[in-house]
Amino acid sequence: MDDPLIRRAREGSSEAFSRLVVEHQQAVRAFVRRLCALPDDADDMAQEAFVTAWASLHKLRDGVSFRTFVCGIAYRKALNDRRRFNRTGARESQWFGLQEQSRSSTVDARLTIQTALATLPLDQRAAVSLCVAADYSHAEAAEILGLPLGTIKSHILKGRARLNALLGVTDDQ
């Protein structure tokens, strides 16, 4: 491991780890905010991702950046949250006898970018957030999301097409 901060953080230095958090918090939070509906939930999840990263720094492989490592942890937390939310939602729907609303009725003609992004499936949203909204390479996105490179490219294509359709823009904008 070349990065001296990561080496020192692995040896137990709180100061080194806090500097890693200072350096990477913006990128990680921006990614998580695009996955979560509420900024407060996103910040809480980003903090938990950093704490998990601290506890599992020994799992950080050579050649993988710290930012990629933490974003991967955050994505898995978001996936787990989504599964839990879906289970709870299903139980509550059964309990109250509610019918699930059709998605098309909730789509407004004046969608903001965030709202449009929120309509994408989580894996597509994550791929678009990383490679289109931020400067991650396809390989980094594949590492973060734990998906094959081809799947990442397919998610980006589909996600971008859907966003363009929702926002009413052409592909070159």
């Binding site: 020192r8 040896e11 137990g12 230095s13 709180s14 100061e15 080194a16 780890f17 806090s18 958090v21 200072v22 918090q25 913006q26 939070r29 921006a30 905010r33 695009r34 910040d43 980003a46 903090q47 938990e48 950093f50 704490v51 601290w54 506890a55 970018i113 965030q114 992004l117 678009v128 957030s129 289109v132 909204a133 931020a134 966003l163 926002l167 823009v169 904008q173």
Partner: protein
């Protein structure tokens, strides 16, 4: 459009966020250390409970001459553990 989507961008420097992360990290470190301490103490107590009935008669037969050695070894052991804990806490390396 997505890259210029400013509402999603958090500040470049946010001490509050860093402090909250480090608070959680230290909390987890404390919990881990406490768990280790409790487990270690329980293991040592069990070990002493098992071996002391066999060791005590031997120590008694050795007489008073062994006690200075026991005290020196005990003090040295505690000092080493204390030194190692302090070294880890302040991040000192050799």
């Amino acid at each position: 459009m997505l890259m210029n989507d400013t509402p999603a961008a958090p500040p470049a420097r946010d001490i509050g966020f860093v402090v909250e992360v480090m608070k959680r990290v230290e909390q987890r470190r404390l919990n881990q250390n406490l768990a280790l301490l409790v487990l270690g103490t329980a293991a040592l107590t069990t070990l002493l409970f098992l071996i002391m009935p066999h060791v005590t008669p031997a120590l008694t037969t050795l007489g008073q001459s062994i006690w200075p050695l026991v005290i020196i070894v005990t003090v040295a052991g505690f000092s080493l553990v204390g030194f190692e804990q302090a070294r880890r806490a302040i991040g000192l390396r050799f």
